[in-house]
Symmetry: C2
Subunit: 424 residues, 2 copies
């Protein structure tokens, strides 16, 4: 459907929802082989359509430049040959992953004689709302397809032509292997009312995954009438304990902050036990200064690092996503965990210690989606964890927590095998 032909958004979205629901039923029945063939067919179609993809993307880039979009946004929008390669490679990797659907676990006999187990099943229809990067269209559709879910995708208006071109390849690939094209629908209008409809259609969409800035995610969470897998801030902490191996502490703190600045699993606040502050802070301070990281510290930190700026209360609650680090000297494990409980966004925290009991307490008591001992917070992602792929990182506890791979897009139903049993 061309954009100009969509006048009645509610009717368009309602029809799209009905078709998604029907496709979801077909997809839930699809075999592993069919789903994998579809993923590979889509990869082949994308490979063959490089010229069309580049042309469509060129139109988006031109329109974006004319609208005065900033350079960072235009960069995210661009489908370079390397990014098209990555999209194709991603599809092939997802085809190679094990199929979670249909697996039955814990099939046990009960005293009544029935066997009870749980079978992994798709959620149904997954709605994804994202901003500028057009490669999300293929990545998200592939994860949903592999996990047996139909998908409704709403990309950024600035990537409209690119997303529609990718959607064309996806539909061709699905139809080639006999799966319904409606299994992946990319909303063919930039009208914002489509998003409002999408997040309030529980009869057609089972879960919404927003990918984008905090503003987008908060607005969607507030207005949605459908469950949302949210990814809000990553205010991650490293705590250097009194019993830390200081060489490990040095390497981990440096890596957690400087390996990449703009990612959600980057350390934003360093906590240091007062017993080792004098030994580790000057060494870390020099290394951070060398890399141009601005330091903001509490009073005790600034005794060790006079060049650091004074940290304000707001610093402890800030996700910098930049070469800035707040540092606080604390009196032991409980003070560190109190700081984390108060200021963390519950994304990822790491303790550096050689003390068994403190490691054990930190693992148990810190309530974050990833809790680490002697490792860099930068490991918190689906690929490093072995999930094979990642559709997002959930900062919620309900349903999915932390990096969300294929399993996060599924549910478990009970299966009961009997031999004529009735209840007495």
């Amino acid at each position: 459907m061309s954009e100009s032909s969509i006048h009645d958004i509610d009717a368009y979205m309602s029809d799209l929802g009905v078709r998604a629901r029907a496709a979801a039923r077909a997809l839930a029945r699809a075999t592993t082989a069919e789903k994998n063939r579809a993923l590979l067919a889509i990869a082949t179609r994308l490979d063959a359509a490089r010229d069309q993809l580049a042309a469509a993307n060129g139109r988006d880039l031109e329109a974006g430049a004319a609208k005065g979009l900033d350079a960072a946004l235009l960069d995210r929008l661009e489908l370079t040959p390397a990014r098209i390669d990555a999209m194709i490679e991603g599809l092939r990797q997802i085809a190679a992953l094990p199929d979670p659907i249909g697996a039955i676990t814990d099939l046990d006999y009960r005293p009544s004689g029935i066997q009870v187990g749980r079978m992994r099943v798709p959620l149904g229809v997954v709605g994804i709302i994202y901003e500028s990067r057009p490669n999300v269209t293929a990545d998200a559709a592939a994860l949903c397809l592999k996990s047996g879910n139909a998908t409704v995708l709403r990309g950024g208006s600035e990537a409209f032509a690119s997303n529609q071109a990718i959607a064309g390849c996806i539909h061709a690939g699905l139809e080639e292997v006999g799966l319904p094209a409606d299994a992946v629908q990319v909303i063919a209008t930039t009208d914002r009312a489509a998003v409002g409809a999408m997040i309030t259609m529980p009869e057609s969409i089972d879960v919404i995954i927003p990918r984008g800035g905090r503003g987008l995610i908060e607005r969607i969470s507030r207005e949605a009438r459908v469950p949302v897998i949210k990814h809000l801030d990553g205010i991650c902490h490293v705590y250097i304990d009194a019993h830390a191996d200081l060489d490990k502490a040095f390497a981990i703190a440096l890596n957690a902050k400087t390996q990449r600045y703009g990612t959600c699993n980057t350390m934003e606040t360093l906590l240091v036990d007062t017993a080792v502050a004098g030994q580790i802070l000057p060494r870390l301070g020099a290394a951070f200064a060398e890399r141009g990281v601005e330091l903001r510290g509490c009073a005790r930190t600034r005794e060790q690092l006079p060049a650091a700026l004074p940290a304000s209360e707001a610093d402890w609650d800030t996700e910098y996503l930049a070469p800035i680090l707040s540092i606080r000297v604390v009196d032991g494990l409980d003070a560190a965990m109190d700081h984390i409980a108060r200021h963390s966004s519950a994304h990822t925290e790491s303790i550096v210690t050689e003390d068994y009991g403190r490691a054990r307490r930190f693992l148990r008591e810190v309530d974050s989606s990833s809790v680490m001992v002697n490792a860099s917070t930068r490991f918190a992602d689906g690929f490093e964890y072995g999930l094979g792929a990642e559709i997002g990182i959930s900062t919620d506890k309900f349903h999915a927590r932390g990096p969300v791979g294929l399993e996060g897009l599924t549910s478990l139903k009970f299966v009961v095998l009997g031999d004529g049993q009735v209840r007495g």
Copy 2:
């Protein structure tokens, strides 16, 4: 706090939320032994408080009778000695269940050298909204306590005195073992505004479980700003396949309908393959007639059972919760699964068949929280499934599906064990 002293509901609820959040942190840290001691202490307190419980319940019953509550409601409201016994026994059983919290699963080495696993953790604060039965106060608090969650309970106004008396025993038991009394808070006002506040406090309450009629659950789901574990209708089906063992079919259909009429896992519609309708329907019809079950059938059913009333379209979508059964003759497995996809509430469906391939398809393709082969739908509950206890049955797919025991009140966080690893 006495009810009359609560004037500002928002301030009361906000304070209660802050205290629940603080208690949740203490409870998440509590050991298995502490939680079990608390459960047993509460059981002992309830046992010692039988007179006070009976007196409080008597006041509720008197007020209810004066208000003209119907007999069924007054019956649900009554705390008979047997029901107090059951409450006490329930607490002891929950103390005896394994503690799900802290269990680490799937701890595997990754190529980077880190070990990644998942640890089961509490959800945090669970809000429960229920109607007349005061025993829910103890049952729900016990399940939440064992799973490390703080609880905010809002019972029916007609059970106010009974619930407060039970709450007194719970608080005394918690304090006796050194756990915070705020771990279980029973809202001390019958003002309906408290429910509105409770379902819109995501900062203090992590999930709402409504237990009651469809009207209550729909209203809460519509207005909640917090995830809801819902239990809507149970329109359950038994499908008698052409290859069924007809003796098993007879026993299962009879049990699924008549073992209890008012439960959500009772069969409401029987589907029969046309190939066996002539053999099984007259036999079943006689048995149902003997038990006073009203039959409503499609035209082909009524050829076999002329005494059956004609079924209307609305019958296929009705949860009778009564001695009424709708019956439809269908042309094979696909027609049966189509009927189920269109009319089931996705609670529980059972196929009766000796055909391996059809059993396998039914298990895979029917999208309900419980899918059975050759067993009565009446088995769909947490005790029969071996969950040990049940806080409700979820008709959603997100987070928890089907009977919800302790595990449904938990989440999984990632744990990472390293030895100084940093990301390259």
